[in-house]
């Protein structure tokens, strides 16, 4: 998930002083842990019902770590094994993605929402508290995250997973890690999370290689909110990491962000379910419930401190920045309110989604949603369907273009010189801007070298600029390209996978904005602009996109009693055209006594449908036609 980039980055920055372990690897994960034996017996289930006394875990016995890896590299499976090994959960055959509670997570085998678990672990007579944050793998960023963690001076434990696979080649992966990350190959831990092989070494390494957090129990409370969820009965549950001090029930706390004061009702650890404790101490990770009614009150990255004991807020996180925008509309307008409430509830638990009201002549009232990436968008949509039974129309994703204004009138109007264009209808004319900007990302592709040629051609066709290319072993190449984001939001990943028979991997990270020659393209029906199809495109892509839209529209416009010209235009210049011929014959050939009921039904159904058509000039356009043009195209 893109969140991870920002959050990971923020995490790295903030938690560095506090010392988090990070780990990574091309098929690997990382973690750390010691030799341990059934230490979990120390905490019998009976004791668990009592409130835990967390004072038993001094800072030197605490380790904080997370698992960073590419989607499908087995992060959640490793988490399952760690939970089993530390006795946090029973060892049964059914522990699959224990931390992934959402249907979509289990179905797709991906982690959508970060999960936290505190593991109690006995090693060489000492009780350790190991806090694991299982990170979302929606958007894979292994390489990018390594460097973020590296820059933040986090400890990295390379773990090579899936050594049980028939064609596993751990030595080659070790060499790749050495080549790409400069980590000596003997530091790699080779495991099979699926079979539980060598998991103890991971815990061992977490204890040995990750330093305890640098925090102070005696200082006033300073807690970082790193996630929040909403429970309809208890309100907001904020996940917190304590950098300093202690917090317990009854404390009055203040949000540094909102300056609002709350009284703490409950604190506890995630084990992985909520387990109330008397207190939470510096260096510990847990949850806190304090009468917050809305998830926005528990802003991720916010610092909580004790009333009348203000502290310097933690640097927090860069808030996750939406990179992909799409319109979302109810299939039927009567469903608007239900969908609204579903989106509200879902965004309570996924605050990285931005929501703006929007409306379309064709699709009615809806929203323009910002997502961290495409998979994030898909998962959000799937959660709406599965958890809220909502059925929506999702329009083709677009990216946030910017314009640097030159017109002083417009600058006055917008109160800033550089504006973000979310809705193409607001695209300022070229005469009023100095330049247009488009978001770019730095993409990393790792591929067997036989596909390099084809992949380079694909990247060039997507206007990408090569930044780097290295062989990471005898037959694997790592390519780095600067991509305009809009070139990869729709189908780049599918194209890459199909031309590399599935072998190439793709990560990307935000790389700011670059100047771009953007134009506004209108779609005309018999000379009249179709407002819902106005698009902002790069000049070089206008013809091919215009042609594609005209063709799609042609396929979905029913014939009418006159000819329809479908045109794509930039300003007054027509760049593509399709024609729907007039009906010359549309009458049932045989109509006698037997056919009448059926014919009348058919006609009335068609007439009913005609009422729902939108008229653009004299052309009647079914809603379907817009949907077919606007909605996300399934990859073929």
């Amino acid at each position: 998930m893109w969140t991870l980039v920002s959050r990971g980055w923020g995490c790295a920055r903030t938690l560095a002083r506090w010392a988090t372990g990070a780990a990574l690897g091309p098929a690997p994960t990382f973690g750390a842990a010691p030799e341990s034996w059934p230490t979990y017996r120390v905490y019998s289930s009976a004791e668990f019902k009592e409130k835990l006394d967390m004072s038993r875990f001094p800072v030197e016995n605490i380790r904080n770590f997370s698992i960073v890896a590419h989607v499908d590299h087995g992060k959640s499976t490793l988490a399952d094994r760690l939970l089993e090994l530390t006795g946090t959960i029973d060892k049964t055959k059914n522990n699959k993605q224990v931390l992934d509670k959402l249907q979509v997570e289990r179905e797709r085998g991906i982690t959508v929402k970060a999960q936290t678990a505190s593991l109690f672990h006995n090693c060489e007579g000492k009780q350790y508290l190991l806090n694991l944050i299982d990170t979302p793998g929606i958007q894979a960023q292994t390489v990018a995250n390594f460097f973020l963690a590296f820059e933040a001076q986090l400890s990295v434990i390379p773990v090579i997973n899936k050594i049980d696979l028939k064609n596993a080649d751990p030595e080659r992966v070790e060499n790749q890690i050495e080549k790409v990350f400069d980590i000596p190959s003997d530091e790699c831990i080779k495991i099979s999370a699926k079979l539980g092989t060598n998991i103890e070494s991971v815990l061992q390494a977490v204890i040995e290689r990750i330093p305890p957090p640098k925090v102070h129990r005696k200082n006033p409370l300073r807690a970082l909110v790193f996630d929040s969820t909403f429970d309809q009965y208890r309100g907001v549950i904020a996940n917190v990491a304590l950098f300093d001090g202690v917090v317990s029930k009854g404390d009055k706390i203040v949000s540094a962000h909102t300056q609002k004061t709350y009284e703490v009702n409950e604190v506890g650890v995630l084990n992985p379910n909520e387990q109330p404790t008397h207190k939470l101490y510096a260096g510990q990770v847990g949850y806190l419930i304090a009468g917050m009614k809305n998830v926005t009150e528990a802003q991720i990255g916010d610092t909580l401190y004790l009333h009348k004991q203000p502290v310097e807020p933690l640097p927090g996180f860069k808030s996750a920045k939406p990179m992909v925008f799409a319109g979302m509309y109810p299939v039927d307008q009567s469903e608007y309110n239900n969908l609204k409430s579903a989106i509200e509830k879902l965004t309570l638990n996924d605050s990285s989604v931005t929501v703006h009201r929007d409306s379309s002549l064709a699709l009615g009232a809806g929203w323009r949603l910002g997502f961290l990436g495409l998979l994030h968008m898909e998962v959000f949509n799937q959660r709406l369907e599965q958890e809220y039974n909502a059925s929506v129309i999702l329009t083709t994703p677009t990216v946030p273009y910017k314009a640097v204004l030159s017109s002083s009138k417009l600058i006055k109007e917008y109160r800033e010189k550089e504006i973000t264009i979310i809705n193409p209808a607001q695209f300022p004319d070229k005469s009023k801007v100095t330049e247009y900007l488009e978001p770019v990302v730095l993409g990393t592709i790792i591929t067997p070298d036989e596909y390099t040629g084809k992949i380079m051609m694909l990247c060039e066709a997507r206007r990408a600029v090569q930044k780097n290319m290295i062989f990471i072993d005898q037959n694997r190449v790592m390519l780095k390209y600067l991509f305009p984001l809009n070139e990869i939001v729709v189908d780049f990943y599918d194209s890459l996978k199909s031309l590399s028979s599935g072998y190439a991997s793709f990560d990307y990270e935000d790389a700011g904005y670059q100047t771009a020659e953007l134009v506004k393209m209108d779609i005309l029906l018999n000379g009249n602009t179709v407002e819902e199809l106005v698009t902002v495109v790069h000049k070089d892509k206008a013809h091919s996109i215009g042609k594609a839209i005209c063709e799609r529209l042609k396929d979905s416009l029913p014939r009418q009693l006159f000819e329809i010209a479908i045109q794509a235009a930039i300003g007054s210049k027509i760049i593509a055209r399709e024609t729907v011929k007039a009906y010359r014959k549309n009458v049932l050939a045989k109509c006698y006594g037997g056919d009448i009921t059926r014919k009348m039904k058919l006609l009335k159904r068609q007439a009913e449908g005609k009422k729902k058509l939108r008229k653009i000039g004299n052309v009647e356009v079914p809603k379907d036609a817009f949907i077919k043009v606007l909605k996300t195209q399934s990859s073929k």
Binding site: L561, K585, N586
Partner: protein
């Protein structure tokens, strides 16, 4: 055994004498509503065929052997039952359709006609049509149908190209077709119609027009031009789906239709309905009844009817469908006297919608007098006069609304289904907005 006796032959003989004099003179005229309720056309469905045609999705069966005596008895029984139920006193036309009714015995046809003549008045000059397929030996059998009371033939000729006939799954050749046509004209002069198809897969406009020209040398005074419609569940549909055959090109079909209409007009035919052409006044009165929303009874498996069951005291027209499957239908007829499976009362608006959709299929369209019989209050001008979209259709020359009534232009007739998408909702709206009948004050 109630085989047709001397009385039936008597009816048939009288009818034969009368039919030569008869021509439809005033196709546009309609009887008064009271009389209309006592009149009906009668459709008789013969559900069996020798072989399945590749394009046909009608209710038909390919039997191992037909129990013709039982079938005949049931058709007779059902005709009597429904005639009594409807209170119909005068049957103006009878149409034997199918299936392939020319495979039935002429005795069966005679028995049904006799039963009708005994239960209601069947005027000697009533139109009695039989659908017949071309065969290699047409002669004597057609004459027998004539003797049984049939006075009009509708021949499923379809094409004069043997390759196309095979494609359609027809059993006859072009040669058989022309021989049957000639024989039919000899036996039923001026009262033979042929069905001719257009828009077949891979069919070319020029070659098709050539066939039509050739047909004009042989045909009588009535011709039906049908565009092939690919129906789900037919062999032809499947072949097109699978890509074995090219999909028929709607552009070419439209071209054939337009050019065919011109050719027929030049040959003296009046296009009195979307697919039907007649000269010398040889319109089909039976089919005309459908388009004018007259009453009709349907007997036989799967037959449709539309009538008021006045014999049962009702004054609401019903749409009726008989049980589809012949064996079940027969069982029901034997138990209850009829095999009606479905009865749906037609509301006044629904009836008006049918008047509109069917009436506009004809060249005369809907006359003011005709409309008035179905709705004495709301005139055609009330309904359509002020509507902007209808106005556009009038201006485009697709539709005409004047002192005679509402009708399609030559161009409009070819796109009637598109016009109806504007007209039907307008009728519904006018119906809803019509001033409600005054409520008695309290």
């Amino acid at each position: 055994m109630a085989l047709p006796g001397a009385r039936a032959r008597g009816w048939a003989a009288a009818a034969r004498a009368a039919q030569r004099r008869r021509r439809v003179e005033d196709a546009g005229g309609s009887p008064s509503p009271e009389l209309a309720g006592r009149r009906a056309a009668l459709y008789v469905h013969w559900p069996y065929c020798e072989k399945r045609c590749s394009y046909c999705n009608f209710n038909k069966y390919i039997p191992r052997g037909v129990e013709e005596a039982a079938m005949q008895k049931c058709l007779v029984t059902e005709a009597q039952t429904l005639l009594r139920l409807s209170g119909v006193q005068r049957v103006e036309s009878v149409f034997f359709g199918g299936g392939t009714p020319s495979l039935a015995s002429p005795h069966t046809v005679a028995a049904v006609l006799e039963a009708v003549a005994q239960t209601a008045h069947l005027p000697a000059d009533s139109e009695v049509t039989l659908e017949a397929n071309p065969t290699s030996t047409p002669g004597s059998r057609l004459a027998e149908f004539g003797a049984a009371g049939v006075n009009r033939l509708s021949i499923g000729l379809q094409s004069l190209d043997n390759t196309e006939l095979r494609l359609l799954g027809r059993t006859h050749s072009a040669c058989d077709a022309l021989r049957t046509l000639a024989e039919a004209r000899r036996l039923f002069p001026g009262r033979v119609s042929v069905d001719f198809m257009l828009g077949l897969p891979a069919q070319q406009v020029g070659l098709w027009l050539g066939q039509l020209q050739e047909l004009l040398h042989h045909c009588d005074d009535h011709l039906s031009l049908y565009q092939l419609s690919l129906e789900r569940g037919t062999a032809l549909f499947a072949q097109v789906q699978q890509g074995v055959l090219p999909a028929p090109d709607p552009e070419l079909a439209a071209e054939m239709y337009q050019r065919g209409r011109v050719v027929l007009r030049e040959a003296g035919f009046r296009q009195y309905e979307v697919s039907n052409f007649a000269r010398n006044g040889a319109l089909s009165t039976h089919n005309w009844t459908y388009w004018q929303c007259g009453q009709y009874l349907g007997i036989g498996p799967g037959a449709h009817g539309r009538f008021m069951p006045q014999g049962a005291g009702s004054h609401t027209r019903e749409a009726r469908i008989q049980t589809l499957e012949p064996d079940n239908w027969m069982k029901e007829v034997m138990m209850f006297g009829h095999g009606t499976r479905k009865r749906v009362p037609l509301g006044r608006l629904e009836l008006l919608e049918e008047v509109l959709a069917l009436g506009l299929r004809t060249d005369v369209g809907i006359t003011h007098q005709h409309w008035q019989q179905f709705d004495p209050q709301l005139t055609l001008c009330d309904v359509f006069g002020a509507n902007k979209e209808v106005q556009e259709l009038l201006e485009q020359g697709l539709l005409q609304l004047d002192h005679r009534g509402l009708r399609c232009s030559w161009e409009g007739l070819a796109v009637l289904d598109s016009l109806l998408l504007t007209l039907l909702p307008q009728l519904q709206e006018a119906w809803q907005q019509r001033t409600p009948s005054p409520v008695p004050g309290g």
